[in-house]
Symmetry: C2
Subunit: 412 residues, 2 copies
Amino acid sequence: MRQTQLFTKTSKQLNQEETSANAQLLVRGGYIDKLMAGVYTLLPLGRRVVDHIEQIIREEMDAVAGQEVSMPALQPKDNWVKTGRWDSMRDILYTIKDEAGHEYTLGPTHEEIVVPLAKQFIQSYKDLPISIYQFQSKFRKELRPKSGILRGREFLMKDMYSFHATVEDLDAYYERVTAAYLRVFTRLGLQDVTYLTYASGGVFSKYSHEFQTVTPAGEDTIYICDGCRLAINHEIRHETPHCPSCGKDQFTTAKAIEVGNIFKLMTKFSEPFGLGFTDASGARLPVIMGCYGMGLTRLLGTIVEIDHDEKGIIWPEAVAPYRVHLLNLSKDSVQADAAYASLQAAGVSVLYDDRLVSPGVKLGDADLLGLPQRVVISQKTGTNVEVKLRSQPDSQLIPFDQLLATLTTPNV
Amino acid sequence: MRQTQLFTKTSKQLNQEETSANAQLLVRGGYIDKLMAGVYTLLPLGRRVVDHIEQIIREEMDAVAGQEVSMPALQPKDNWVKTGRWDSMRDILYTIKDEAGHEYTLGPTHEEIVVPLAKQFIQSYKDLPISIYQFQSKFRKELRPKSGILRGREFLMKDMYSFHATVEDLDAYYERVTAAYLRVFTRLGLQDVTYLTYASGGVFSKYSHEFQTVTPAGEDTIYICDGCRLAINHEIRHETPHCPSCGKDQFTTAKAIEVGNIFKLMTKFSEPFGLGFTDASGARLPVIMGCYGMGLTRLLGTIVEIDHDEKGIIWPEAVAPYRVHLLNLSKDSVQADAAYASLQAAGVSVLYDDRLVSPGVKLGDADLLGLPQRVVISQKTGTNVEVKLRSQPDSQLIPFDQLLATLTTPNV
């Protein structure tokens, strides 16, 4: 992509409304645009990052036999009355009433839709287990949305729901999904700062689990066990003096962002909808369920919180909108055009800064946008080009004809 | 995908509520599920078809320099008041009011969002032209949704918006997008039955254009010119006695589904939002706009209306959820398992009917589901396998070891 053709431009202006680093950098870089509090547009660069995050999650959900669907955002009130959540979640449900007097909500989650849906296809134990997921915009009334895109009123989620004949089968699958989640965070470069965290389980389970990414920008407080790599959420800290995993009682307090949560729903939603199955002996039993959420726009913001410096974003290669930022600082564009063409021909994704602006502006924007590899072509470098990783301070000069080989070798 | 693992099952039951062939077949095949009138879930098979449609559209929009974004569904009332459409579109806008008294709508279209967004990045003629598109769930109040997924209350659209310095530039781009749309319909197998159709242009343009696919299930009436390959919509038939393209006055009447529409918005939306640019002489001018819609869930239904017979769906290969339906009619699964493994290893997408049900059920479901190529393995075929195109009545027997070569040759 030639930067002269790109829809967006970078901005130097700090936005007074945005107090978080993620929103400042994403807005200034032209990754996202704020329509209103808690509601953002994904601009072309941001859309590319989210596409990469989505594809990583999709691969890992498919690897645990998840089947992708798309459920509606618009949901009938009746389903929510049936689970009691039309009232209990009143504070966060957007509601709509049409001329005919019918009422709807915009789903912040999809148990009320997926359970009656599953009921159509699950009759016997032979139909179990099954796991269904989707990527979808969720809606949640927040009177005071904050923290940029970390807590929004409209946000992109992956939500998965699993259905089992026995608690043992749910337990085993829950472990598989836990491992899949950890693989997602590893691929997103968040593995060192993301903790599997015990949280309140509600009526049906002792614990649920969150995946918490440690950063000063976090709204949650977690207690990281000094004895193992697990944490407990502040909500259960009081009643949980010992680590539920290793039993130790020394913790380190940290601020964190909840980037995912998994929950053993057991029969909480199967019962109100009468979702049952016939076991091998012919007995009728309720289906056992689990649910598994992960916030995509929240992950976008979290990655920026974790991976930035005072100059801008530092994208992990797996999610960067483009891998290479090619900067032409020469007076003519002959050499840079040739480099752009050869990188494109080799299938390397490149953002090419072909604008007629000063070298300082280009170098500053490259740091702000944060693509993993910067390639500078200028009079100064002669027949060489300068290659620099955004994550490293030092650059190196390499002969122009070795550019392709250098960039297609990992970690240069 | 093994059919024993597939979330959905086929159904023989005709649904009394669904009067259209598309909804009957898609629901019976387990492609979609109706949550309520005009609101459907895309099930795993349906999701795969829509993914393929989406990718074809994306490639063609990228080829005309479209840049993909994701704008919010939740939109502030103020933007809609500014264009006068809060009142004029009142009948189709879902509205939401929160505790703080703020009002919102769920976007049935995005001019009210994209124009103020573009204003942030368009200052001079050098920033033009630009073209922005998205795939997104749209919402539209329909008191009597009908025709299955052809006219919904929540539906998936591709909407693109272009911005130009001159009418001539818009005209040229409009022609490019027209050609891109025709390429999409060709790739979807709809080229022979889809007509570029003149429709009412409103105040700012003489005509807009629709893409109408002829089928008895259509809700629109079009008049196809006997002299050229264009049509006119019934809305303008009265005032348009002659074909606007070739001037002839003989038409054939047909029922059709509107699968896309393109519109020269001119300055209709730039003006209320003050979206202007500075030209080369320093003069300030309003930006000229075009918009280009295409309904994805509607295309899903239209393809089924066009491509089905009394037994079920006949998917075009470009959008089929899987390319091959492998049916094991043998008592053991040795040969079928081997065929499944070798097709998967070769990257051929396969749905493998490994269920313990009768041959008649399997053959019936294969016709209902409509995958392009059916491969039958049975005692009867011995060391051969039977290969049949869903679109053709005749099958052929081929040696097992030639299966892969046969299936990877186009149009066997």
